[in-house]
């Protein structure tokens, strides 16, 4: 899938990838790739600026942790959790509307 298609949803997907617990940048990328069945394959370098943006907005909190290698680990803040919940609601409404419009109407079953 092209990076442009993802653009408006990247923030929500990053927040969702931290829902289960703290993760570092590369683990977030792997979660996005695995979770989408390989559909989301955007350049890995682009998620780091996105994480910093979310951090400045107070939605995630990043700290350096040492576990064999020094990594910056991100976790959701309370505001981030609220934003994720809001994002999920918006997405449900939006995707239901788009599906209703894009999908062909079910044909009447012929007896």
């Amino acid at each position: 899938m092209r990076a442009e298609t993802l653009k408006g949803h990247l923030d929500g997907l990053l927040l969702a990838s931290l829902d289960a617990g703290p993760r570092h940048g590369y683990a977030i990328m792997e979660a996005l790739r695995a979770g989408s069945g390989g559909q989301f394959d955007l350049p890995t370098g682009t998620i780091y600026p996105a994480l910093r943006r979310l951090e400045r907005a107070g939605l995630v909190h990043g700290t350096w942790a040492e576990d064999g290698r020094r990594r910056r680990v991100y976790e959701l803040t309370a505001a981030g959790r609220r934003a994720l919940t809001a994002e999920r609601g918006t997405w449900r409404d939006f995707s239901a509307a788009v599906t209703a419009l894009l999908e062909p109407a079910p044909r009447p079953v012929t007896p």
């Binding site: 940048g25 590369y26 683990a27 792997e30 890995t44 370098g45």
Partner: protein
């Protein structure tokens, strides 16, 4: 496990293209480096030899100039925040020093109460409101910059250029205020 010249070269390209404060840049590059080493590890686990794994990691991360470009708004916001916080932190003490100096000189001269320190030299009645206006603009622009670059950012209209612009404005207004006060004292 080596970094590989490919990874170092990629990181150097990002570093060269990143603007902003050195400390913030070092932090960003350190994070990219550790992520890229994780990527190289993953490619090695998938069966690639060292050099090929490092090359695959750089390819996976994308164009270094584009990655640096994406960090630009973050670094600009951080820089603007530093400028605004410095203004907020230094403005009041400097103002107090001015007032203190003026009061002290007048007490020494013993011919006027301290609040009359500006006296009534020619030209100053017009300059005083100007200084006040500049001080008000400075304070608001500095506060807005801190708000726009911090957690309040998501409640404000999303204009990436806002923070650096207001920081520049508050800086200019602070200079205007200083110049006006100098003119006041010199006249």
């Amino acid at each position: 496990m080596t970094n590989g010249p490919r990874i170092d070269a990629w990181l150097r390209q990002v570093t060269a293209a990143l603007p902003g404060p050195a400390r913030a840049r070092r932090d960003i590059v350190a994070e990219l480096r550790s992520g890229m080493l994780d990527a190289a590890d993953a490619h090695r686990r998938a069966g690639l030899p060292d050099a090929a794994a490092a090359a695959a990691a750089t390819t996976e991360f994308g164009d270094p100039r584009q990655v640096a470009e994406a960090f630009r708004p973050e670094l600009a916001a951080r820089h603007a925040r530093c400028v605004a916080l410095t203004l907020i932190a230094t403005g009041p003490p400097i103002g107090l020093l001015w007032a203190g100096a003026a009061a002290a000189s007048h007490i020494a001269i013993r011919h006027a109460p301290p609040w009359d320190w500006a006296g009534a030299p020619p030209g100053s009645p017009a300059a005083l409101p100007l200084a006040m206006a500049a001080i008000v603009v400075t304070a608001w622009a500095a506060l807005l910059t801190v708000a726009a670059t911090g957690r309040l950012a998501r409640w404000l209209p999303g204009r990436p250029g806002l923070a650096p612009t207001t920081a520049a404005k508050s800086g200019s207004a602070a200079m205007a205020a200083d110049m006006t006060i100098f003119a006041l004292l010199a006249s």
